[in-house]
């Protein structure tokens, strides 16, 4: 499911990656989905934060997650809001509930499926897409379609 970056395309939107988020993107480059987890109480935390909101611990580290989840909500964007996405419109954004923890959500794209075929609650799994030589993002496909 991966696509090779086309160097002729406009650059993806600029983004700020710092020490707090760098492990997420480094893992994505290696085609793993890793999320921040409290090393004291076990809570997964996304988006990355300096402190655990449940127990107050600062002992947080990134750990691999299964990449399995379900579609909580989705929307098909029809407008070009940034030149990088001009040739992808329409595209699907989705809020994915990950299997590891109730209410653990990640925003991503649904790929390999057309909008009319998406169902609320449908099982999905992660794969990865190279947006540029330096940037790989986790995206989701219907469960079982990676085989």
């Amino acid at each position: 499911m991966t696509q090779q970056a086309d160097l002729a395309r406009p650059a993806p939107p600029e983004m700020v990656i710092d020490a707090l988020s760098a492990p997420f993107w480094a893992a994505a480059r290696e085609r793993r989905l890793e999320l921040q987890r409290c090393q004291d109480c076990g809570l997964f935390i996304h988006l990355p934060r300096p402190v655990c909101r449940r127990c107050g611990s600062f002992r947080l580290a990134f750990e691999p997650v299964s990449g399995r989840g379900s579609v909580y909500s989705y929307t098909e964007t029809r407008r070009v809001f940034h030149p990088f996405f001009a040739d992808r419109v329409p595209y699907l954004l989705a809020s994915i509930e990950l299997a590891e923890q109730a209410d653990l959500r990640i925003l991503s794209n649904l790929v390999g499926i057309a909008e009319p075929d998406v169902q609320f609650g449908m099982a999905v799994e992660v794969t990865f897409e190279d947006l540029s030589p330096d940037l790989t993002i986790p995206v989701f496909v219907p469960a079982g379609s990676l085989a």
Binding site: P13, E14, M15, V16, L47, T75, F81, L93
Partner: protein, 376 residues
């Protein structure tokens, strides 16, 4: 409000709002503030507090001759105009100031750049949005709208009826920017921005300034307008600013916000004569209607389609036409409209007869606020 001095709204005003007016934030702020002072019958020297989202309160105060101030607050990203309004009301109630101008100044042009830049925290969080093509609020609104359609009995036709009802009010509001008649077919013919969110579910970007003056009951009695009183307020924040990751996209912070508000008054939703419920996107108003309990959960769509929010309905709602039609005033329009309704006779052909109690509310999702007003 329980505790402190009783607070009244005594003046309201707008700048010359419109699309790409070419006027600066200061210009819109100055026009709105002067209009509110004139409405109230107050002089610059009477003002001792100022708060704004958009521009800087210290700068505005000097420009307008509100000097010296003894209270000011620069409100950043927040639940729209409700934030400066609530803080202004509580500043008067607590005695930190006697007469406070609360403002929302918002320019159309730089909004996208501002959204992308965000604040410090939001710029960080954008790395989990922008690479996925999640760049504009219309997209989280698409997620919220779709989940709402999934969980509720609402249909796209209900959303169409919502837009048509709002336009019907706007046709009766000379200050609205969008007034031409609209039909259900017009709504359904409008393009999707982020399906199922359509163009006509979105507020209408414009340059605008709005100002509302809060003071004590004692001072209010001597001024030009019939005072409108702040009966209760509610604020809520229950998530970071990433709407896309809300665990529940249907029952969001307005539920908690209204619990706070109703705990501060003997009135209840049954006492409301009209409601002005934020409509940056249509689904927001539907969430507020359900949070208010004016219909059963999941029934706000049918409630709208059956005329529940019309002038003759159970709860006339967004009677100035809403931000889709008066333009993006970020809730200040709803404070001003509620005030005019309760003064009586100032809302022209859209006046709710004998309106005594009104609520206006802002935002949705991670944060929201509401203010209950009474005419006596």
């Amino acid at each position: 409000m329980r505790g402190g001095r009783r607070v009244a709204i005594v003046g309201v005003g707008y700048s010359d709002a419109g699309r790409r007016t070419g006027l600066s934030e200061r210009h819109h702020a100055a026009q709105a503030a002067r209009a509110a002072l004139a409405d109230a019958g107050l002089e610059s020297a009477d003002i001792d507090g100022l708060t704004t989202w958009g521009g800087n309160p210290i700068d505005f105060a000097h420009m307008l001759g509100f000097s010296p101030l003894r209270w000011h607050l620069d409100v950043g990203i927040s639940p729209a105009f409700i934030s400066p309004a609530i803080h202004a009301a509580h500043a008067v109630a607590s005695g930190q100031a006697d007469t406070v101008v609360a403002m929302r100044v918002i320019l159309q042009q730089p909004s996208r750049a501002n959204l992308w830049a965000g604040g410090t925290g939001m710029a960080f969080d954008a790395q989990f949005q922008h690479p996925f093509g999640d760049l504009m609020p219309a997209q989280w609104a698409g997620l919220l709208t779709n989940r709402y359609l999934h969980e509720s009995d609402a249909t796209e036709e209900d959303f169409a009826n919502f837009a048509v009802t709002q336009r019907g009010y706007a046709a009766r509001n000379p200050e609205a920017l969008m007034r031409e008649p609209m039909t259900v077919e017009d709504y359904l013919a409008a393009p999707y921005i982020s399906k199922p969110l359509r163009l006509l579910d979105c507020d209408y970007p414009c340059d605008s300034g709005a100002a509302v003056i809060f003071t004590t009951e004692e001072r209010a009695r001597d001024l030009r307008q019939k005072p409108v009183f702040v009966e209760a307020t509610g604020l809520s924040a229950n998530h970071d600013m990433t709407f896309e990751l809300l665990p529940d996209m249907v029952r969001t912070s307005p539920v908690h916000c209204l619990q706070q508000l109703w705990s501060n008054t003997d009135l209840s939703a049954a006492d409301l004569d009209c409601a002005q419920l934020y409509d940056g996107f249509s689904v927001i108003t539907l969430q507020w209607l359900e949070a208010l309990g004016v219909c059963e959960p999941g029934q706000a769509g049918p409630f709208v389609s059956s005329g529940g929010t019309s002038l003759t309905g159970a709860l006339p709602t967004n009677t100035d036409g809403g931000a889709c039609n008066v333009g993006r005033r970020h809730g200040a329009n709803f404070c001003i409209e509620a005030t005019r309704q309760l003064r009586g006779g100032q809302s022209g052909e859209r006046q709710v007869a004998d309106a005594e109690v009104a609520i206006w509310a802002n935002a949705v999702g991670p944060f929201s606020g509401a203010m209950l007003l009474t005419g006596s």
